[in-house]
């Protein structure tokens, strides 16, 4: 595949990231397994990001994309979602994401998967779509929550996370310069369509026969297309869980060791198909200056390489929520058993109350109410101005009750606070107690909803909350996932940094 630099200036116009708040201390993982594998002792360092029980690749993608779009000037005409852990094999995941974000239905969309380089592939495809003139703006979002066997290397090395970028030609922050790809059926690991876990081959073979031989030629070609000397690169972004593998590639390619970006292993773990973009965003937020040239590489059954150049617009760009902020919003988890429970890696007694969730979801209703359930869209009465959720034919305002006056109104970003609450130890939840309560929106409207990402003792009347797209419940009998929005306490930035 050949892209030629030139033409209109196209590039990344905005970005956003998301990393789940929970960080599982690796020492907790190692402590659980060291009895069987004493060799793990040396790996009890740092932490990996870990989804709450109600997060998956789609919910993380929604949050990253939402952060991205909050600082983007234009609406995407196509959505590309990259993941190897998308919850649905046949129900377009990008469509769930676009509905949750209220991107409208006059929209192109695609799921990209099946390889760890899917995130970079989606980026290239998004750029291609905009460069070709097919779409004026594209949203590319990558997320992964890979499930791993207990005590596997992946359990320690992987993390959960998401990154999103918009592609367009309106003053990009990072200008596209060139891309090059190779496709090689090199199977360093695989996960069959029907399987839950990866099967992984020997690291030394992956490093020496795969990474070292497949990647450098692609780098050479993309840099040649870009007209950039390896020594002129300011940042080299490439994930690998294999120690020194990327450093070896840089050396082979003539790239200075100083520009090789840290893979965030200590604070996050490798977020699968999202990780090249997660690392890219982290670099852009912490190190990239206007004029810098960046090489981004994704590896998996071949390799995708992209050269980007930071523009002057980057200097004044403030992300609404980037990877740095996401990493700072952190809560250490030292209970490995909770990780096992959240990821269904152990068969827990959930009690009969848990059977309640295994009801058949009326897909007719889910469709009819899709803007409400996925998009948190309620109503605004055009007669009295009252906001209400959900939208109904008759206005909820006792002084109005006008009929057929509701226009759609999104509650996604409306400021809200807690009116009433409880922490319920009786009802089944994967993370007891079940916190829920009535929240009121400052501009009008209220409803009772679940809270998530809360600590016991943290919820009180009057605290500010923010809505987040999460798994509502699972229908394990039929393998269906129901999504809705939950309230999360708004934590002061200072408190977040202190926690970090």
């Amino acid at each position: 595949m050949n892209f030629i630099a030139g033409g209109d200036v196209v590039g990344i116009t905005a970005f956003g990231g998301y990393v789940p708040r929970l960080r599982l201390a690796r020492k907790a993982i190692v402590a659980a397994h060291v009895w069987a594998d004493p060799g793990l002792k040396g790996k009890a360092r740092g932490e990996r990001s870990m989804c709450n029980w109600d997060e998956d690749a789609v919910t993380m993608a929604v949050e990253a994309a939402r952060n991205c779009l909050a600082s983007s000037k234009s609406a995407p005409e196509t959505v590309l979602f990259a993941s190897t852990s998308a919850p649905f094999a046949d129900r377009q995941n990008a469509g769930v994401i676009s509905t949750a974000l209220s991107l409208g239905e006059d929209l192109a969309s695609v799921d990209v998967g099946s390889s760890q380089r899917a995130g970079v592939t989606a980026l290239i495809q998004g750029i291609a779509g905009v460069r070709s003139g097919l779409y004026r703006n594209a949203l590319v979002v990558a997320a992964d929550k890979r499930r791993t066997k207990a005590a596997s290397p992946g359990e320690l090395a992987y993390g959960d996370g998401a990154a999103a970028v918009t592609i367009g030609n309106d003053t990009p922050l990072l200008e596209f310069v060139a891309a090059h790809s190779a496709t090689v059926d090199f199977v360093d690991h695989f996960r069959a369509a029907t399987e839950t876990f990866d099967y992984t081959w020997e690291e030394r073979w992956i490093r020496d026969e795969g990474l070292a031989k497949i990647v450098p030629p692609v780098i050479a070609k993309v840099l040649q297309k870009a007209g950039v000397k390896p020594s002129a690169l300011s940042h080299f972004v490439m994930p690998s869980t294999i120690g020194r593998a990327v450093a070896g590639i840089a050396k082979e390619a003539g790239i200075s060791a100083d520009v090789v970006r840290d893979n965030l292993d200590a604070v996050c773990g490798e977020t699968g198909a999202a990780h090249p973009l997660v690392m890219l965003l982290h670099a852009v937020e912490t190190a990239v200056k206007p004029g810098d040239t960046i090489l981004l590489v994704g590896f998996g059954q071949g390799c995708d390489a992209v050269v980007l150049r930071a523009t002057a617009a980057l200097a004044s760009f403030k992300p609404a929520g980037g990877i740095v902020a996401a990493l700072a919003n952190r809560q250490e988890e030292t209970n490995y058993q909770k990780y096992l429970a959240f990821n269904e890696l152990v068969t827990l007694e959930k009690g009969m109350r848990a059977e309640r969730d295994d009801y058949k979801t009326a897909l007719t209703v889910t469709y009819r109410k899709r803007d409400m359930l996925l998009g948190l869209v309620g109503g605004r009465c055009t007669q009295c101005g009252t906001l209400q959720f959900p939208r109904t034919d008759i206005c909820v305002n006792p002084q109005c009750k006008a009929m057929h006056t509701q226009e759609p109104h999104s509650f996604r970003d409306e400021p809200a606070s807690v009116l009433t609450w409880s922490a319920d130890y009786l009802t089944y939840t994967a993370d007891p107690p079940s916190h829920y309560g009535m929240i009121t929106f400052a501009n009008g409207g209220r409803f009772m909803t679940d809270f998530t990402d809360v600590n016991i003792g943290e919820v009180d009347v009057g605290i500010a909350v923010r809505m987040m797209f999460r798994v509502k419940s699972f229908d394990h009998l039929r393998g269906f996932v129901r999504y809705f929005w939950k309230a999360v306490p708004v934590r002061a930035a200072a408190a977040q940094s202190a926690a970090a």
């Binding site: 007719t364 209703v365 006792p398 009433t420 130890y425 089944y428 409207g445 409803f447 009772m448």
Partner: protein
């Protein structure tokens, strides 16, 4: 202006089954148990019943839908039987159907019978309610205690009450009901508890502990109603008549409009106001002799005291702690143990409350008999604080 129901309908007979974990009995046996007592009390023949109203809530674990389960269990003489369901206020709804039928003149004698068989679920507590096809896709993952517990958070915020003071007041609510229930042979829970027991019980839903929650019980209750004239003709004296019967239902404003503060029952205030007017009661705190409150949870009872205008707003804690609602207080509440200890077989509860008020008014309440009560009130609530059915019924001596 409607003329209302006052003194148009008399209670001819009532019955109530033993409440509790009735492992040996199904709903059908419970129905017969309550019905047999009511029939003996009324002193009539089955053929004299013109129509029946039947209340149950959970059809899934109970007897199923329709009026047939009652008609068949009691072998009724092919009369009209209507099944009604209005959450935990279903019993009051069945009673309303029978009372209205008699008041209209369409029936001379009507039966209201409520039953719930809850202990066929395999676990403690109430079964979950899905609530249709849309609600489970977005409604909070809650339970009854968690829904009602939220009253405490809003009540505390509104009246600036600290958690310990509220915990102690709701503990007293339960201690009082346990003391009363201990004297009721038909009650599910008959063991007195101490304040410390209530305060130290396992947490169910913050701030409600185990003893802040009512019993989950099997049981049935029945009422046979007629006109006061027919009651007299049948040789009855000491007649108890219906003074008021009001229901108020939420219309979604509490749950969807920012005008409600979460600390009280909007519907109870409306139903109580209408009921007092219908009954001609102007000063409830002075005129009501006793009442049964829908004490599904201790906090529900506490805030309802104010909604029923018995305690001033913000004053329930003081009244509770002063023993105003205790058996020897000014207005005894839950003299039979209430939902808390008599038990809460949902479809039967509204009628069970009336059963106690009826016995008390007739001076037949045994060890727990109050001295000369003249007005008894029942408050039967279904749903959750933000969306509910409130029923208020007042009965008293027929002059």
């Amino acid at each position: 202006m409607a003329r209302g129901i006052k003194d148009k309908v008399a209670i001819l007979g009532m019955g109530c089954s033993q409440f509790g974990e009735r492992w040996e009995a199904g709903a059908e046996e419970l129905m017969v148990e309550a019905f047999a007592e009511a029939m003996a009390d009324a002193g009539i023949d089955q053929s004299q019943i013109d129509a029946a109203w039947f209340s149950t809530h959970y059809e899934e674990i109970n007897v199923g839908k329709g009026g047939l389960p009652l008609s068949i269990a009691l072998r009724l003489p092919n009369i009209a039987v209507t099944r009604v369901e209005n959450f935990c206020a279903s019993g009051s709804e069945a009673f309303r159907g029978a009372v209205y039928a008699v008041a209209s003149g369409a029936c001379d004698i009507a039966l209201a019978l409520g039953v719930e068989k809850l202990k066929d679920t395999g676990y403690g507590g109430l079964p979950g309610n899905l609530g249709g096809t849309l609600t489970p896709q977005w409604g909070a993952n809650g339970s009854a205690p968690g829904n009602f517990a939220q009253l405490a958070s809003a009540y505390r915020a509104k009246h600036r009450v600290n958690r310990d003071d509220l915990k102690r007041a709701i503990a007293h609510v339960s201690v009082k009901s346990h003391a009363n229930g201990a004297k009721n042979p038909k009650a599910h829970l008959r063991k007195p508890i101490t304040e410390a027991d209530a305060l130290n019980a396992p947490m169910i839903a913050e701030p409600l502990g185990l003893f802040d929650c009512c019993g989950v019980s099997d049981g049935a209750a029945a009422a046979i109603v007629t006109t006061p004239e027919i009651a007299k003709r049948l040789g009855k004296s000491n007649i108890v008549s219906v003074k008021a019967l009001q229901l108020a239902l939420s219309n979604g404003s509490e749950s969807g409009h920012n005008s409600w503060d979460g600390s009280y029952f909007h519907t109870t205030r409306i139903a109580a106001g209408k009921a007092y007017k219908e009954a001609g009661i102007e000063k409830p705190r002075e005129q009501v002799s006793m009442f049964e409150c829908h004490d599904c949870f201790s906090i529900t009872e506490l805030v309802t005291m104010e909604d029923l205008q018995l305690s001033p707003e913000g004053g329930a804690i003081k009244d509770v702690m002063n023993g105003f609602y205790d058996a020897d207080g000014q207005i005894p509440c839950q003299i039979d143990g209430g939902l808390k200890c008599f038990g809460h077989p949902i479809g039967a509860s509204g009628i069970r409350m009336l059963y106690e008020m009826y016995l008390q008014l007739q001076g037949r309440a045994g060890e727990r008999q109050l001295s000369n009560p003249s007005i008894g009130m029942t408050h039967n609530l279904g749903g959750s604080p933000m969306s509910n059915v409130a029923a208020v019924c007042i009965i008293g001596a027929y002059d």
